[in-house]
């Protein structure tokens, strides 16, 4: 049972196909996810990592489950802060569900450890990144604050 967990739900006026691309492909993630890109073959067991604009790995893990346009589960370990790296792997789940002219996106980030520092830290970042993703897909523009990597981080 997960001891630390956050759940985010947002409705985005787009298609599951487009959202599925936006969550993984560099031309999208660079705009709403602080200039980062992801490296992965996107199949079960494939290794996965988030790369900062300077080429350094921010987080890494592997694909646990992948069902195109519907569900993606990643093992996720942070590499930026030693105390978070020491916590080991967390689990991130994206679920996409078509609802009328929108897609309901549910993002769950959890760790089998109480009071996880990683989960606490990401809980501050996800809402802004997801709001920016929504803005990018609905208006063509991501939110200003998420277009580049924060200085000093």
């Amino acid at each position: 049972m997960a001891e630390s967990q956050f759940v985010y739900v947002t409705f985005i006026r787009t298609t599951p196909e487009k959202l599925w691309r936006a969550l993984r492909e560099p031309e999208f993630t660079r705009q709403f996810w602080m200039g980062t890109t992801q490296e992965c073959e996107w199949k079960p067991g494939a290794s996965w990592r988030i790369v900062k604009p300077n080429g350094v790995t921010a987080d890494s893990g592997e694909v646990l489950e992948i069902e195109p346009h519907k569900r993606l589960v990643l093992k996720w370990q942070n590499h930026m802060f030693p105390e978070m790296t020491a916590e080991g792997y967390s689990r991130l789940t994206y679920e996409l569900e078509e609802k009328g002219d929108s897609v309901k996106l549910t993002v769950t980030h959890e760790m089998d450890k109480s009071e996880s520092k990683l989960i606490k830290a990401v809980s501050g970042g996800w809402p802004m990144i997801l709001a920016s993703l929504k803005s990018l897909l609905e208006t063509g523009e991501s939110l200003e604050a998420t277009r580049r990597w924060p200085e000093g981080l």
């Binding site: 997960a2 967990q5 956050f6 759940v7 609802k99 997801l130 939110l143």
Partner: protein
């Protein structure tokens, strides 16, 4: 379907529901039973308030075995903040620009 802003404001417009959100903020992922503890509300009242919060997607639930856990979803509030804070700032900048133009115009005249 999208986040219904009316539902979000309506859901936030009751102290009991804001209290429930505060409780989830302090300790996310609680069952109905856990939420009812130390609250001066009947179980039925809490259930009713949670239903409105869920309809506004301010609270989302996840089943874990036989337990239904309630989580605070910050996205609707975040989206409202993005929408209006940005607009207010734009409005202020425009007002300042107009004021500057007016005052400078008068000085010149």
């Amino acid at each position: 379907m999208s986040t219904d802003v009316d539902k979000v404001f309506k859901a936030l417009a009751a102290p009991e529901r804001r209290l429930l959100l505060d409780r989830l903020r302090a300790d996310n992922g609680q069952t109905l039973g856990q939420l009812c503890q130390h609250l001066d509300m009947t179980r039925q009242a809490v259930t009713k308030h949670l239903k409105l919060l869920e309809e506004a997607t301010l609270v989302v639930t996840i089943w874990r075995g036989r337990e239904k856990l309630h989580y605070l979803n910050p996205m609707p509030i975040h989206e409202i903040a993005e929408r209006w804070i940005d607009q207010y700032e734009r409005g202020r900048l425009r007002a300042l620009a107009e004021l500057k133009q007016k005052l400078e115009g008068e000085t010149d005249g």
